[in-house]
Amino acid sequence: MTTQTEKKFETVIGLEVHLQFKTRTKIFCGCANEFGNQPNTQTCPICLGLPGTLPVFNRTALEYAIKVALALNAKVSSTIKFDRKNYYYPDLPKGYQISQFDKPIARDGFIMIPTASSEKRIGIHRAHLEEDAGKIIHDSDIKASLVDYNRTGTPLMEIVTEPDLRSPQEAYDYLTTLKLILKYLDVSDCDMEKGSLRCDANISVREVGETILRTKTELKNMNSFKAVKIALEFEEARHRAVYLAGETITQETRLWNEIKQMTVTMRSKEQAHDYRYFPEPDLVPFIVSTEQIDEIRQTLPEFPEAKLNRLKNQYGLNDYDANVLVQEKAIANFFEDCCKIYQEPKKICNWLTGAIAAEINSRNNDIVQLKISPQNLTALIAKVENGVVSNLVAKDILTMMIDSGQSADIIIAEKGLAQVSDDSALEKVIDEILAANPGVVAQIKEGKDSAKGFLVGQAMKKTQGKANPKKLGEMITRRLLNA
């Protein structure tokens, strides 16, 4: 038995990501592609699958798909054809889904994901374009299912990895890296809560050294990247336990149960898949020229990894700071706009990742909608650096700037927030503080230097934070020496 437990296992994971495009309209009809509207208010005879209608391909959906293919370093197919995937389920009004079977738009790509020591290449097996299905609401009260076809026909790209991932953590890192790339492309909201990004996982476990894959299970129903990771961890442990018990894994689809925190077998009836793919006769082929692909390549943004390296080199930022900025393209752009006006990258970065990030969080907003311009922010930072306002007051000013959209200058003037630099005014404040705290003064004179901080704090309070604490400290020291 001991040899059994000493077995060294290896986990093999492949992921399928479904990405909804944020085109204005659906993939094959002119219905609005919007989330959250009243049920069945965005349908037409085409997406309802009524007889006699014909789908017409959305030009922008193809453009977005080619963008994704290029971002995944994949080969773009020069001929695009669609196929029918036949299955009968109420979320599919036509009884089939228009998808791509043997000729996906993209194949043989890869992305690099960060690892503890460097990075790892994760192969992209294929990515294809299809139409999304409708949404089924299960209503146990009326013992029926309710169908909303608003989502039916939303352009969807399925991105399938090679079985290159070796741990649930790697799967998680792949997903976060992929999501950031996709967000930079600006073709999707990438919002798992709204279902514009969804992920299924395939997992198998084998002994180290084995070359062929063992039986896999497919995991569905994970509603966050974290859930994907935990579901994979659960399933990895289950596979190992089954093998250690000398039993075998059954190939099946399992659903992640968020409440029970476990995977459970999907009923076999729902798994009976026989899709009977055949070429979609209602859509003619689409030819993509190399010129067209090159044209689209020109529109690609700078990707997160390249931007990270450039921010480090160009502005001397450390890895951590650059990484934080790169997480939001708009923040990274805002940073660079600020640096053009005010050449203090590190200080600008600190403001963006500190006070500004806090404002964005508390307001549940983003930098674009926040009423602050690079001009106004850098002007405020300059005021701190020039000693016009203290760091503490500057944070309050920032809040007021965002509330009102006004510049720091106007707010400082209107509210009289400029730092008190007039020595005689400060001397007067110190007089009062020293007189009011004879005990503390005595302690300092006896050598307890740390008590000075208390007096500085009192003086700051008295000036409503408008004094420079460093200057106050120096003035108090001078006074006590001369006394």
Binding site: P39, I137, H138
Partner: protein
């Protein structure tokens, strides 16, 4: 060789109810169709481009411009059952 069982399976996938005589008739029909296909398979098509479409037409696109959708009541007009603006169908998961 198409059997009665194959026909029942395909009918099940397509959600069609067939009478026994129909199953028998269709078993023969499908067998004949497969016979034609077998004949076609004997042809040498190694020099022929695969065709997914009969028309010599390519690249028929639509611009990404919103057009009015049906109203909710129009969309639901043909639904045998509806509930709260949704199509009501037999329960698919209990």
């Amino acid at each position: 060789m198409i059997t009665k069982k194959d026909v029942e399976y395909i009918a099940g996938l397509a959600r069609i109810h067939l009478q026994d005589q129909e199953i028998e008739k269709l078993t023969g029909n499908l067998e004949d169709i497969l016979g034609y296909i077998e004949k076609l398979e004997k042809l040498d098509v190694s020099q022929v481009e695969p065709t997914s479409h009969a028309l010599p037409v390519q690249n028929v696109f639509r611009d990404d411009v919103v057009r009015p959708s049906l109203s909710q009541s129009d969309a639901l007009k043909n639904a045998p059952q509806q509930h709260n603006g949704a199509f009501k169908v037999p329960q698919v998961i209990e």
